[in-house]
Symmetry: C2
DNA sequence: TGTACGATTGCGAAAATTTGCAATTGATAA
DNA sequence: TTATCAATTGCAAATTTTCGCAATCGTACA
């Protein structure tokens, strides 16, 4: 379940960071929230553009980047594409299979335990609330063993051409 | 220490996967090997281009992508830039500080333990040999506490304009 | 409220990355 | 060695992403 929006906590956070909460930013956050997990740039931009055609891609790029940088949202590299989602208190992590692209969720506690250990040992505080670990899922291992054969790898999943609508003509 | 090159094992791996070992690919691998850890696209392309000016950026992009896909090299998203390096037997992982960009290496064993647990619990085999965990390092925590303030975040590290030399003036 | 300042936006241009395709060239088997 | 065939390359074009800058527009404060 995505974080609800409007989200007073999020707004407070934005202002505390010294950011202005512009209509553009508000909309972008709403869209990301509405998309739930793993929204691509295109999905986000499409929604934003539909709701407010004057908002430029550059603004969306910039804000996604800014929000990520300040951990209001999380950006994740998945299978050749980048996906975004609202940051949450609870972490959640995925195992994604190289072969079949299946996803398995990992209980946060497990990963958190590693971070706690790292902290104890090095004093370093890991901040990521969302990690993606690539590998091979149980089913595919059964089929082909642990090594990735030549033809077991897939093309990038993301749709190729976005072909945004030009404004003029 | 980067993996030595030429590397018979790597060549065998390439051929086993059904890839042709073209001069372009050979050079790219040599360059990546020569760069050691964390080579950016630009660094790689520059070296390649210097050694063989006729090789196009597209070829380098394609092969970096292909090699990553088949785990001959590892591509990693670091601080807004992507970096590549030759894959190795031994994993190695980094903690990178959001504030000062300091790097701390994590003993592979520690992370591996997590993966082993995941395997035991889910049957999923994690394949990544190189993970990057972002967070706050001990020194910066001491200075500012655990929360990331507005001005504690840095611009992207990667050099902005690449401005490749055009061939035809 | 009204004013002032600096953050943010949209635009167009620049730069980076990907793609289509014809030509080339490894690798295999005769 | 030579012929064959599909993988790979280089180019140019298409597409995506970033950047510079003047104009706006939130916010803070009087």
């Amino acid at each position: 379940m995505p974080i609800p929006y409007p989200n007073p906590k999020l707004e407070r956070r934005i202002r505390n960071l010294g950011f202005r909460l512009t209509p553009q930013r508000d909309l972008i956050l709403r869209v990301v929230a509405g998309r739930g997990e793993h929204a691509t740039f295109d999905e986000i931009y499409d929604d934003v553009h539909q709701a407010a055609p004057h908002i430029s891609p550059a603004t969306v790029y910039r804000n996604l980047e800014t929000f990520s940088r300040y951990r209001l949202i999380h950006g994740n590299e998945v299978a050749g594409g980048k996906v975004y989602e609202l940051a949450r208190e609870e972490g959640h992590h995925h195992l994604i299979c190289h072969k079949c692209w299946g996803e398995i969720k990992v209980p946060d506690a497990q990963v958190r335990k590693l971070f706690k250990q790292l902290d104890k040992q090095t004093g370093f505080l890991v901040l990521g609330e969302h990690f993606v670990f690539m590998g091979i899922c149980p089913d595919c291992r059964r089929e082909e063993g642990d090594s990735l054969g030549r033809f077991s790898v897939y093309p990038k999943f993301s749709v190729k051409s976005k072909k945004r609508n030009k404004k003029h003509e």
